[in-house]
Symmetry: C2
Subunit: 77 residues, 2 copies
């Protein structure tokens, strides 16, 4: 469950980042995260906390419900 969930979460972050046409570096800057953190999240190497998830969604300009609807599609596929 764990690996699939982290991978699906990373794919979802990447989807919304690409929708904004911004780089991982720019997203990291928006969030106040280290620039390598975004790459690790997108590759499913991180298990982000609630607060980091909220920060990511704000910076990605997507609501938490909408984010998790797409997350669910990514984890079901």
């Amino acid at each position: 469950m764990r690996e699939n969930s982290l991978k699906a979460f990373g794919l979802t972050v990447r989807f919304y980042r690409n929708e904004l046409r911004i780089s991982q570096e720019e997203l990291a800057e928006r969030c106040g995260f280290h620039r390598t953190y975004i790459g690790q999240v997108e590759r499913g190497e991180r298990n982000p906390s609630l607060i980091n998830i909220i920060t990511l969604c704000k910076s990605l300009e997507v609501t938490l419900p909408d984010f998790f609807v797409r997350y669910q599609q990514n984890s079901d596929s």
Copy 2:
């Protein structure tokens, strides 16, 4: 932002636990968590990880999108 978010998350967990009419101990058992963890989460004292959030939602029998719709109501109020 942090305190309000953790409190809203805790209220949302409590809401869905009460909907199931189960105790914190039973929810902890369903999740495989220590029984005190659920109390801490509900009081907004914990910043749960993605994997723990997924585990909680499964045990609470609610989808992630639905959970975060209610979470948003709790954090806006």
